[in-house]
Point group: C2
Chain length 168, copies 2
């Protein structure tokens, strides 16, 4: 296999195929986030990476909470909208016709149309490179009885996907 | 859609479908890592989450470097091996028949059979919950000319997958 050595690190970004994509709500806003991962299983911590110039950044920094909402592929159009438009310019709940679902513990609402809503309280803020990772402890969660991960959305480098075939 | 509210957070872990899976080399060892993400694009930083009890933990903490090797689905068997066996008990290069490929900048070798090798120097260590996230700055990279992300491996909660169909 012939390899090229490169300092063009955009090639490296593109070497990852896809990551889960979620809709993060905080206060009245919705933001599509692919820089999201489980940071710890016990306690259960979820980290989201947000650039300071994003509208959601100061909301989350100020409120110290967020809700991770997992969309299904039927919500792709709204997911793209929330990832490309700013909360500065749009009321995204209104534009997407998403319904606010009251959370049990945090003040920010979740998205009723998403089958999974994970309420998080920020316990760590990590400045790293061009963004801050807000690490939230999961304090409550709601899951649709018929939720199927096969229906969820993956994203990276301009391409939205569904989960692929299981190979083991 | 009927939702259940749950404090059983293992359900939340399972609500994520899959994440990219990589083979991380440090010194003479190989570890399969799914807790990996781009932490920053500029500079390009990659974070990997490792529990202190893992053999690789003290290697990376000591050497302050690692190589992220992206395997293809043809390397699934070796990927499973490196994720389930400890470097304490096995010489994983030997057991997998992987070939050490000299890195250009860091001292740890990459895996020749992997089409992508990303050399990283640790610039931050973040203790969060049950593990440490080692954040590495990308200092060099090699990519196979015929590399295709469609051939890469995704993993979560016991299931290995390939990337699924593009839906946008």
């Amino acid at each position: 296999m012939k390899k090229i050595t490169t300092a063009d690190f955009s090639k490296i970004n593109s070497a990852f195929s896809c990551f889960p994509t979620v809709l993060v709500t905080c206060d009245e806003n919705i933001i599509t986030v692919t820089l999201v991962h489980i940071f710890s299983f016990s306690p259960l911590l979820i980290g989201i990476g947000i650039k300071p110039e994003r509208y959601s950044y100061s909301l989350i920094k100020d409120r110290k909470e967020f809700v991770v909402n997992i969309p299904t592929k039927e919500l792709l159009e709204q997911t793209i909208f929330c990832g490309t438009k700013s909360g500065k310019d749009f009321d995204k709940f209104k534009e997407t016709n998403f319904t606010k679902e009251k959370s049990d513990i945090v003040k920010s609402a979740g998205i009723k149309e998403c089958p999974v809503n994970i309420e998080c309280k920020v316990v760590q803020e990590i400045d790293t490179g061009d963004r801050t990772w807000f690490v939230g402890e999961v304090v409550n969660s709601k899951i649709a009885e018929n939720f199927n991960v096969e229906d969820s959305i993956l994203y990276w480098k301009g391409k939205y996907r569904v989960p692929g075939n299981i190979i083991n």
